[in-house]
Amino acid sequence: MSSELETAANPAGLRRIVVEPLSRVEGHGKVSILLDNDDHVKQVRLHIVEFRGFEKFVQGRPYWEIPVMVQRLCGICPVSHHLAAAKAVDQVVGAEPLTPTADKVRRLMHYGQILQSHALHFFHLSSPDLLFGFDSDVARRNIVGVASEHPEIAMQGVMLRRFGQEVIRVTAGKRVHGTGAIPGGVNKPVSRTDRDTLLKDVYQVIAWCRSAVHLAQKLHMTNVGLYNSFGAFRSNLMSLVAPDGSLDLYHGGLRARDENGKIIFDKVDYSRYWDYLTEEVKPWSYMKFPYIRSLGAEAGWYKVGPLARVQNCDRIPTPFAESERREFVDFGGGQPVHATLAYHWARMIEMLFAAESIKELLHDDDILGGELVTGGPRQERGVGVIEAPRGTLIHHYRVNEDDQVVRANLIVSTTHNNQAMNEAIRHVARRYLDGRTLTEGLLNHVEVAVRAFDPCLSCATHALGKMPLHLELIDAEGHCIDRLIKDSTERCLP
């Protein structure tokens, strides 16, 4: 299943085009494309240029600090790391299952995170690509027509994100750097005042989320040929599912399907994820390449995230989102949808599911009080797995008798999608770049494909002046023969 474009047969003598870093994704990524003298694409690679050193950073720290410390991994999804680490530490303190209050308050926090992250991605990260087209006159004409029917989407995007942040604040204590989840439970219930405030808005939020699903669906159907083919590739799919096979983003067993939808493994205990998943190191990238152990590296890589989850589950346990899932599945006509741009449609279905789940949890009085913490026999090892906005997130810690973390292994969502993102840009490069004069618009196609996965390439650093975009054309001898710099105002400078 791996692409022939991963490594060129004869890299010497090929021109190199470098896109560095990717704009509109966190951190710094780089896409390198090697062309031959006839401008045929010979090699395409997504490089991760920043080493993620967090596993070393947490060694020697007491285990109870970890759920708070790991929030500094990412400024966009700190809650996901907070909860995945807390679930791992729950195993260390023998706290399984959690009390109903702790379980539901954490779920509320998690669905607040899913809602705000998905809203941000759709309304403010990808909508410029989707609404205004990416260098296709036909697409632009059609899609701008759709956009003109929705002048309010910028406001809705801000408000949805704001609501998600409020859910996080009332469950974690603060909008950022919260401390809600602790080993074995949570440190406070939700106050009745906060619950009532959120309840007043949640129905409006659900209505906006339904509209967002319909907008994403309409965008897809308006230009179905482009959306179905752009960066599309077939692969395995993996995610957590609930014990009954339904969609659950907080807890469950691991399920994988092959490219035709056939089950590979189902509802397996993630505490021994290494029996099912392993990682390959490639010399040209700091980021590892996970794959399903039983299938091997060549055939075992997979997609995670909304597109995998919506199709991996048997149903969604909230009514509006389930109705939308059925439409999505029907669109596939009995086969899994593998269109990269269908991530956006699936992401909006999940956002609706998150909003409906928040409503249900707000109506559950368990979140207002009860036992907050539980415990049991102390363990040396803890594994926490959660479905973060971008996909499956694994935190794995080993703790010594002095309560210090001695080993940590994190497989983040973007790492699971590493091979998939590489495949997407290879398909795009082959389709749109091969044999043509390079333009900024063409190179933007590569970025559009990567953005669909909503990657998180680095930790949260954002000093002023840290996020420019460099395009370089380098000859076979390594000389830069052309350069384009896209600055923070997205102007292109020579």
Partner: protein, 176 residues
């Protein structure tokens, strides 16, 4: 009360200072450390806020403010700091996971349609942004200098605003 509607202006401090950065990444901690030091001073009429990155929802934190100051580490630029007026402008970061102060102001304008508060960016020069690193000595010195200027400026602004309310004539421009 609704979580989607910001508090009325009368309930808000007229000045908002936002410190941006990741405390675990060397000189990127300049923003949060600035807020920590300002908190100790308990400046009247000033609300303090810190976050890893600016985002679209920060536009709503600006509602009802007279003045907003964004404090961020600067990977390049003048030492020890720069202090410049921020102008609302849609930019590439408006569609990013991290917005610039100009993009937050632009989002505020688009979402609320209200007049913009006076806005400034205090860019404190930083040098190293490694995970797990402490603030380096040079960046700490730059932060001290920047806060000295900012505190004096905020005090002068407060006096001018009080004078304006009481009708007392003002002297000087108050510029730094």
């Amino acid at each position: 009360m609704s979580s989607l509607i910001p508090l009325p202006a009368a309930a808000l401090a007229p000045v908002l200072v936002i410190g941006i950065g990741n405390p675990s990444r060397g000189d990127d901690a300049i923003g949060p450390l600035a807020i920590e030091q300002l908190e100790a001073l308990a400046l009247p009429g000033t609300e303090l806020l810190t976050d890893f990155q600016l985002q679209v929802e920060h536009a709503l934190d600006l509602v009802g403010r007279r003045e907003v100051v964004f404090i961020d580490a600067a990977a390049a630029g003048p030492e020890p700091f720069s202090f410049e007026a921020a102008v609302a402008q849609a930019d590439a970061s408006a569609t990013s996971h991290a917005l610039s102060p100009a993009a937050v102001l632009d989002a505020y304008r688009r979402v609320t349609g209200a007049p913009l508060p006076a806005a400034y960016v205090l860019g404190v020069r930083g040098y190293a942004f490694e995970l797990g690193a402490d603030l380096c000595g040079a960046a700490a010195a730059n932060l001290d200098a920047a806060l000295q200027m900012l505190v004096a400026r905020l005090a002068a602004t407060t006096v001018r605003a009080a004078n304006a309310r009481s009708g007392t004539p003002q002297q000087g421009s108050g510029n730094c």
